[in-house]
Each structure stands twice: as C-alpha cells, then as structure tokens.
C-alpha cells in the first residue's frame, strides 16, 4: 500500500506546525530533466522544501519490446534484448539465451559458460561505474564522473575487441556465443583491470572521506528491510538494506558455482550503503573475471546441435545433410523451434533479478516473452522513498536507484 507521509514520519506535522496556514506547491520534475536518468516524470507536492507527496509516471520509453519480439524469430529477438538494460547489455543477452536454451533442453559447452560469466561481469562493472559516476556528477563531483568514464571506455574497448561493438553487442546466440574470445584477451584484460583499479582508487580518495559527499549521501533515502521485501526489490538496492540474496550465489548459473566471490551487503539502506555496495561489487566482479580466465577450458563456443546452431561452412558446402540443416535453420517458417512449453529463468542483472518468462507455441517465434525488469519494483518504491526528503535530496536518491528506461518501460 503506498505510504502517506504521516505514516512514514509520524512527527512530521508537529515538527513544522508553526501556526501558519500553508498551501502546498506542486512542481513537476518533468520527462526531460538532466538528473533523471532517462525519462520519468515526477509530480511533487511540496511543503517548503520537503516532499509531502509525489506521483511518479513512467512509460516515456515504452518501445513495445514484448509485442515486437512476438513477430521475430528466437535469434532475431537478441538485438532487442541488448536495448533493455543498455548499460549492461551482455547480461540481458546471456539471460535470454539461457532461458531459450532451457526451453529447448540444450546444454552449452563448458567454455561458453565461462565466456558468458566473464562478459556478464565485464558488463556489470560498466553498469556500476556508470551509476556511481552519474550519481556523483549530479552532486557536483564532475571529476569522479570523468574518471569513471575513462575506466568505462577501457572496458568498452575490450568489449569491442570481443564482440565488435561498444554498446549494443548482440553477442549471445541460442546455443552459445557468436565467436570465441580473441587470443590476446588476457593481456587486454590486465590493462583494463589496471585502469579500473586505478580509477577506483582515485575516485575513492575523492569521495570516501569527502565531507560534502558523506553529508549528502548518509541518512538520505533510507529504505528499511521490511519495505524492501514488500516492494519485491532485489539487487544492490536491496542488498544495501540487508536483503542478502544474489542469484549468482544462491541459484547459480553459467560458471558462478566454480568461482569464489563475496556478495557485499550493508544494513543501513541509505544512499551511502548503496554506493559502498556497488563499489565493492565492482571489486568482486574483477575477482570473478580473474578466476574465470584462469579456469576456462578449451573447446567450442556454440553447441553442435542441429536444432539450434548453424553447421560449419565446410560441411555445408560438402554434404547434403548439413546443407539442408543450414536451410532449415534460416528460412522463414522453419528455424529454431522449441516444443510447446513455458519456462521462467532468471539471472542477476545490474539492478537485481532479471527474469524471462518464455512461452513457445512450437513455431520459430516466441508466443510470449515477458521480461521481469529489476528496476520496476525499485521505481515503484520511489514515491515512498522520497517522502519527507528535501527536493535537493531527490537527485542523489534517484541516482542510487539506477533507473534504466529501456528496462523499466521495455
């Protein structure tokens, strides 16, 4: 139930009861606002500087993802999944591919699991760098933003060397990934790692003991654990309030059960805790990538299943079965055809549990592809989160929510 301000802060009315008859002020933090990451409208009812009530309106980026992929084939939906959480597109790709593979009953090769783990963690690093950098920029710490953009650039250059694109990569396919990692990946990763660690050190010295940053982040935007559970929030937002659940550790997929990493949690539930959780998660992601690179076996990267993967070119040109297989996988009306069935599979996205509910009707197109967006329940709690806060506090709170329009509105 949405909370009223007198439920959240019972002494609010008494605190400001100075005998004056005040009319509230309604202002609009509109769909085009510099500090709103993407487009969302908030109508605020203010009493002086304090937010007494608010209404959040989303949907300004509703690009009809779910209806569109019903018209496309299973592999053609992958570029659309890139644009869901567009700061960590690899996680969306791999999550979707995992869901379709569950529906088909296909097991990917072991090397693919490790590659997927590495690329997901690389994407997660980019997501957290962007979130913290943009949040710091909105508080005035422009230098921190520029340092983190430099670190993100280096990770994007590495992603470009692997997948061919910086942001919208479409690297996953049903049954594996498009191509193997380049031969010099380890050296390039060592360079990226040094950049990320150096920049995190610099930003740490700038922000961690910065009086202004601490004052603006500590105690601001507190979400108690009970409300986090009622709102169904997951991910770093929930872990900063004490809800210790991470799909990578608790329901492992890909190669997460073979690497050792910690899941940082805090119990304060304010902006400062979220900042700390995200910084620590970057360090843990670096750790995961190092271990995965060391443990990765050799092998193929796409499963050699005729229902799913294109056969090798040499075979296509030399024998008739491979040619027919190639033909059947590409022509409209044929293609990858899972049996009648449904599946719900989830991965740990940058913001929490990214779930995919797929329904297949036996044809080459999805019947229904539902994405459970991790920032949707978090955004539904923003109205309550900013109750009682001052207008200037809305900006850091919103920054720590890490709303991604592509995922929220789909």
């Amino acid at each position: 139930m949405p909370m009223d301000i007198s439920q959240k802060i019972p002494q609010w009315k008494a605190q400001r009861d100075d005998g004056f008859d005040i009319e509230p002020l309604y202002i609009n933090m509109g769909p085009s606002h510099p500090a709103m990451h993407g487009t969302v409208k908030m109508v605020l009812k203010l009493d002086g500087e304090t937010v007494v009530n608010s209404e959040v309106e989303i949907g300004y980026l509703h690009r009809c993802f779910e209806k569109t992929v019903e018209q496309k084939t299973w592999n053609q939906a992958i570029p659309y999944t890139d644009r869901l959480n567009y700061v960590s597109p690899l996680i969306n790709n791999m999550g979707y591919c995992m869901a379709v593979e569950k529906l088909l009953g296909v097991t990917v090769p072991e090397r693919t699991d490790y590659i997927r783990t590495i690329m997901c963690e690389l994407s997660r690093i980019g997501d957290h760098l962007t979130c913290i950098g943009a949040g710091a920029m909105e508080l005035g710490a422009l230098t921190a933003f520029l340092y983190f953009m430099k670190a993100r650039e280096s990770s994007w250059q590495l992603i470009e060397e692997v997948t061919g694109a910086r942001l919208t990569i479409s690297y996953g396919r049903v049954g594996g990934v498009v191509r193997d990692l380049p031969a010099n990946f380890s050296e390039r990763w060592a360079w990226v790692k040094s950049q990320v660690e150096e920049n995190m050190g610099e930003v740490g010295t700038l922000l961690n003991s910065n009086r202004i940053f601490i004052d603006r982040m500590k105690g601001v935007g507190v979400m108690p654990l009970g409300r986090v559970l009622s709102y169904g929030m997951t991910g770093p937002f929930a872990r900063a309030s004490g809800f210790d659940y991470d799909l990578r550790r608790d329901e492992p997929y890909f190669a997460y059960d073979k690497v050792r990493f910690d899941v940082p949690t805090r119990s304060g539930g304010d902006n400062w805790c979220r900042y700390e959780v995200r910084m620590e998660e970057i360090r843990q992601s670096v750790r995961i990538i190092d271990q995965a690179l060391a443990l990765m076996p050799e092998g193929i990267v796409r499963v050699e299943d005729p229902r799913v993967s294109l056969p090798r070119k040499k075979e296509v040109y030399s024998n008739i079965e491979a040619l027919m297989n190639h033909f059947k996988l590409l022509m409209p009306g044929h293609g990858i055809r899972p049996d009648l069935g449904e599946v719900y599979a989830a991965v740990e996205g940058g913001n929490g549990e990214l779930g995919f509910w797929l329904i297949s009707d036996g044809s080459d197109r999805p019947w229904r592809l539902r994405v459970r967006p991790p920032c949707f329940p978090i955004m539904s709690g923003v109205e309550e989160l900013i109750l009682g806060e001052q207008v200037a506090d809305i900006v850091p709170v919103f920054g720590s929510v890490n709303m991604i329009g592509g995922e929220l509105d789909r």
Binding site: G30, P31, S32, H33, P34, G38, T39, G59, Y60, L61, H62, R63, C64, K67, T68, P79, Y80, R83, Y86, V87, T130, A134, F145, L146, M149, K150, R152, E153, W156, R166, L167, T168, G405, G406
Partner: protein, 157 residues
C-alpha cells in the same frame, strides 16, 4: 535569390561569416536524452572523445538558453508532445540533431509506441545514423553542422 544585387553587399556577407563563426563555436546543446544513445552521448562528451574542444560540450538544461536540440534516443508517442514543446520554447537560431537511428527513422522499433523518426513533427538539420553511433560519427556530424552554420545566412538586419 540569384541576380539580386543586394544579396552580394559586402557588409551582410561579412556579417554572416562573423555570426556564423561565433555561433558555430559556441553551441549550447539541449541534450534531450531518452535511451541507449545517451550512453554514447556521455562517452562523446567525456574526456576520451571530448566535444568540448569544438565548443559544443556545455549543456544548457533550459530550452530558452540552448540553441542546439540534440534528440538522443527513441521518441515515443507519449514523449512526442514534450519534445515538441521543448522545441517550440527554444529561441531562434536553433538547430536540431537527430542522434541515432531511433530519432532519425525509428530504427528497428516499428510499432505502436515509437515515433518513426522525429522529422514527423520537427525539422531536422543533421541526422546521425548508428545504433548507437560511434563517438567519431558524432564528432563528424558536429563538424558538418558547424560547417553548415558557418555557411548559412544569419538574418539580423
């Protein structure tokens, strides 16, 4: 226009050139950021690819103070009236850049929610293709736009 001797008066052409030079090197952008292209926009403005060296980095978040409307990302039918209003509030001279294929033509979002290109309701000066466009493409477009601003007529007199 051709054959009108008044058009070739030295004063107005020189004034055009001076105003063109001044306006092209002091573009104040209004980044109307909606979607994934915003990430590449952030990268282009950051220190690696830097648009500040072209005089075009400093964003003004009020339409009254901006002269370059950069529409970054997909525009949906719900967002279109707001974009139109922001465009209407900007003062002349103003230029519009469609950043990314979603703003140019709708991209691969051809459905009931997305507007198939902002030129359905706004006049566009520069279309930047790419999904998202590489920062080098954006800088190329910015330089072409600056060339265009230099060479266009600036009506003052």
């Amino acid at each position: 226009m051709a054959g009108d001797p008044l058009q070739e008066v030295v004063l107005t052409t020189k004034l055009d050139k001076v105003l063109g030079w001044a306006r092209k090197y002091s573009l104040f952008q209004y980044p109307f950021v909606t979607a994934c292209c915003g990430m590449e926009f952030m990268s282009t403005s950051a220190s690696h690819y830097d648009t500040d060296r072209f005089g075009a980095a400093f964003p003004r978040f009020s339409p009254r103070q901006a002269d370059l409307l950069m529409v970054v990302g997909t525009i949906t039918h719900k967002q279109a009236p707001i974009l139109k209003r922001v465009y209407d509030q900007m003062c002349e001279p103003k230029w519009v850049v469609a950043f990314g294929v979603c703003a140019t033509s709708g991209g691969f979002y051809q459905n009931y929610g997305s507007v198939p290109g902002i030129d359905c309701f706004l006049p566009v000066d520069m279309y930047i293709p790419g999904c998202p466009p590489r920062p080098e493409t954006v800088i190329d477009a910015l330089l072409k736009l600056q060339e265009r601003i230099q060479n266009q007529r600036h009506a003052v007199l």
